[in-house]
Symmetry: C2
């Protein structure tokens, strides 16, 4: 099927290059990468398998190309396009624009070996960065507030500017960790606090994603073996860890995504924390930090070999604390391999 | 006129709070802020003058509110909405959705005194950060590559995580500065290089934006008085600086934006650099880094008191060097005041 893309990562996936102002059309055996003058030289040097078209008005250029190539029907993702650009593209056109939500993400749901290797490397770099971050916090982090700790996480995850980040890291202390998408505050880290860190980096444009929740004693680390002073916290922590480990051990290709979700949710519900697990078990990861499959209680997606996603159960007690443990897995030979 | 917004900054402007998942409806004297459970407590604490509505499906909740309030006609910005959400909002509805591109940006084009004070503070912090950055580069920056220097700029502009950045800083050496939107490379800074830095930070969500191009000798600073070894560079630099100063001195409320653009462009063209000034003279700045007015050769917008925009002429000689000097101005009592 012929299609037109405007999302930067969707385009990168097609031709190994992209820019923040580009369109991509595939029609039959031909492909066109449309961008403006700022990027045309780089594009010509980098792209194989697509003709580079330089234009000031990308949408107008796309219309012309669709017409010249006598396209009758073309797929697009209605989540990618804004109303104005799409109206400009489609106004008074005799083309049939077929809406396919998540068109590119659906194509990208199974990772090939090259992608798996790149993602594995991103995860490895992320893991190493967590280790460095723990060391830095042990030495200089106590007394610092969440802003400063977040900055520290950004610095170390990016290897001081070498890598892009998958997203702004979350660094949350005690009750701040009860908000799954906590923004930093001026709360300062004290010896013995609960500390949640959720962070990832990009390697060759592919994302990593990891969360650890720890008892921040003087000699803490980001391993999953953690000892808290509070019995309530320990119970929640052990439950989350058990749910996390269980899902990784039992996830199989051929299951529905909601069955994988149930692997964590059932354990958390049985321990009475069900209503405090307020999000899905996980999400696909690739060029975008949120890809398919969605590992939620409502998803009928069949899990297949080559899929990469997070397992990240959590328990959030408002005003008290939050626990989340997250790793990325790849489905290999029918099982979930921790990356 | 009643309207519905989905852009985060557009919503913040209406009610002093926003989140990355929110809709805002104003109908007559009533207003509604729709968000999901993660943000509803914060929203209720922060918002005055709008009712907070919590919903899992924001668009469905908006449809219901529009119906309940018997709205007949509502304005929206077709650049804000993606095709899918807008279709969901408007499908089988008897409402008339009036498209107004840049609806919120048009409302925000004139800044009030409170906004002007906040922006002035953002600019002041940015200026101070440039000074600290110069000091840091003088002491430790020579020999570092553009990645490391960009990281340094991020660190210092954000005051080590205290402030958000207006955008990823641009730090470009010599011929890399010839790309107006240069991405960092592994080119290292040597004594005597040309160095371009374009960076800004956010204070209370409002952006600053500044560019300096300097001769990076051992004791350089980011003042506009610069002495280059190359006569060609010096001529280009002096031309850009003259264009910059001239526009600031001569811009008046009541002019058209394209007349302000001509104040820089005419000087650059007269010196024979016209075809190397490849962008507009400037852009409005506020909650977004790119707001209205657009100071371009095609803009008929009338400049008015209270507008805030950049003056940033440039000359870019491909493969050789690039010069840009940028300051923000506010129109006060008919004239452009440098912030």
């Amino acid at each position: 099927m012929d299609y037109i893309l405007c999302d930067e990562n969707a385009i990168y996936y097609e031709c190994g290059y992209s820019s923040d102002n580009a369109l991509f059309i595939r029609c039959g055996s031909e492909a066109f990468f449309i961008t403006d003058g700022r990027y045309s030289i780089e594009a010509q040097e980098s792209i194989r398998g697509a003709e580079v078209v330089t234009a000031a008005d990308l949408v107008a250029a796309a219309r012309l190309l669709l017409k010249k190539n006598k396209i009758k029907k073309i797929a697009f993702d209605p989540k990618e396009w804004n109303v104005m650009d799409f109206e400009k593209l489609s106004a008074k056109s005799s083309l049939y624009f077929r809406e396919i939500p998540d068109f590119s993400k659906k194509k990208r749901i199974i990772k090939n070996d090259e992608e798996l290797l790149i993602i594995a490397k991103a995860v490895k770099l992320g893991k190493k960065a967590f280790k460095s971050l723990a060391k830095e916090i042990r030495q200089n982090g106590f007394g610092k507030d969440e802003y400063a700790l977040t900055y520290l996480a950004k610095s170390i995850l990016s290897d001081f500017g070498r890598y892009d980040l998958s997203f702004d890291p979350i660094v949350a202390i005690d009750s701040d960790a009860a908000k799954p998408h906590a923004l930093p505050t001026d709360k300062r880290l004290k010896n013995g606090d609960l500390l949640l860190v959720d962070a990832g980096l990009k390697y060759k444009r592919y994302c990593s994603d990891r969360t650890r929740t720890v008892f921040a004693g003087k000699d803490f680390n980001f391993n999953t073996k953690q000892q808290f002073r509070s019995k309530k916290i320990q119970k929640a922590y052990d439950t989350v860890l058990r749910a996390h480990d269980h899902a990784i051990a039992k996830a199989r290709s051929g299951m529905k995504a909601r069955q994988v979700d149930a692997l964590t949710r059932d354990i958390i519900e049985k321990e009475g924390f069900g209503k405090f697990f307020v999000h899905s078990t996980g999400h696909g990861v690739g060029l975008d930090i949120h890809e398919m499959p969605v590992i939620s209680s409502r998803s009928d997606t069949i899990i297949e070999d080559g899929m990469v996603y997070t397992i990240e159960p959590g328990i959030y007690i408002p005003g008290e604390f939050g626990i989340r443990i997250e790793d990325m897995v790849a489905m290999i030979d029918g099982k979930a391999m921790v990356l």
